[in-house]
């Protein structure tokens, strides 16, 4: 999680160090906050026996919501960055959808053992011979020294880099005075 958010934070810090001012706007941002607000309890809290049905559908729906938000922002100076991020979300949505609402995970490559909270819904599933588009799943291992190191997908990488480019594209350099 931290590794994917880090490029955004670094881009923000870079913009500040360069003395830029931010003109960052995220259209339809409440939808992104709603998607996150739904996912956090869904993936961390024991919500009951109906989770196996509602969990995969909710994963697909919230990811689609994020894709909608990112595509809505593919205009102006941030167009290219938004499209890079959107392609990442679209790849994640594709692989999750064709695998029944679960992100396939190349468990053998994991940098550390992962444990899910008891009773909570896990939206990843170990990849096997029946997995579709397995290469788009969680197949890239983050360095073990990274806090909360984990497996990420090619879509995650595109999304993370696109979001960082989005921040940079929204940074204006202050003009020198005098």
């Amino acid at each position: 999680v931290l590794g994917l958010a880090a490029p955004v934070v670094c881009a923000l810090a870079l913009g500040i160090v360069r003395g830029g001012s931010f003109d960052l706007r995220v259209r339809w941002f409440p939808l992104a906050l709603v998607a996150l607000a739904v996912q956090i309890p869904l993936y961390t809290a024991p919500l009951g026996d109906w989770l196996p049905l509602i969990g995969p559908l909710t994963t697909i729906a919230t990811t689609a919501l994020i894709l909608l938000v990112v595509l809505r922002n593919a205009t102006g100076r941030t167009r290219l960055a938004s499209l890079i991020a959107a392609s990442g979300v679209a790849l994640n949505l594709l692989v999750i959808s064709v695998n029944g609402g679960f992100m396939p995970r190349a468990e053998a490559l994991a940098p550390r053992a992962i444990s899910h909270p008891d009773g909570a819904f896990s939206n990843t599933a170990p990849a096997d011979s029946g997995t579709r588009l397995a290469w788009l799943g969680d197949t890239l291992a983050q360095p073990a020294w990274l806090p909360m190191a984990n497996l990420v997908s090619p879509g995650d990488v595109l999304l993370s880099l696109g979001a960082a480019a989005w921040v940079l594209a929204a940074t204006r350099r202050r003009r020198a005075t005098g």
């Binding site: 994917l4 931010f22 941002f29 961390t44 994963t59 999304l159």
Partner: protein, 40 residues
């Protein structure tokens, strides 16, 4: 009006929070669009 309601109202209209919202939204996009599969 209750004090907590007042506090929320102040927070929501605070210019600092408004300035932070786009960044928080972008982080939400990254987390919910990809890293949501990696909470643990």
């Amino acid at each position: 009006m209750d004090t907590p309601v007042n506090l929320i109202s102040v927070l929501l209209t605070s210019s600092r929070l408004r300035a932070l919202l786009p960044v928080l939204s972008l982080v939400a996009v990254v987390l919910a669009g990809g890293a949501g599969t990696k909470w643990t």
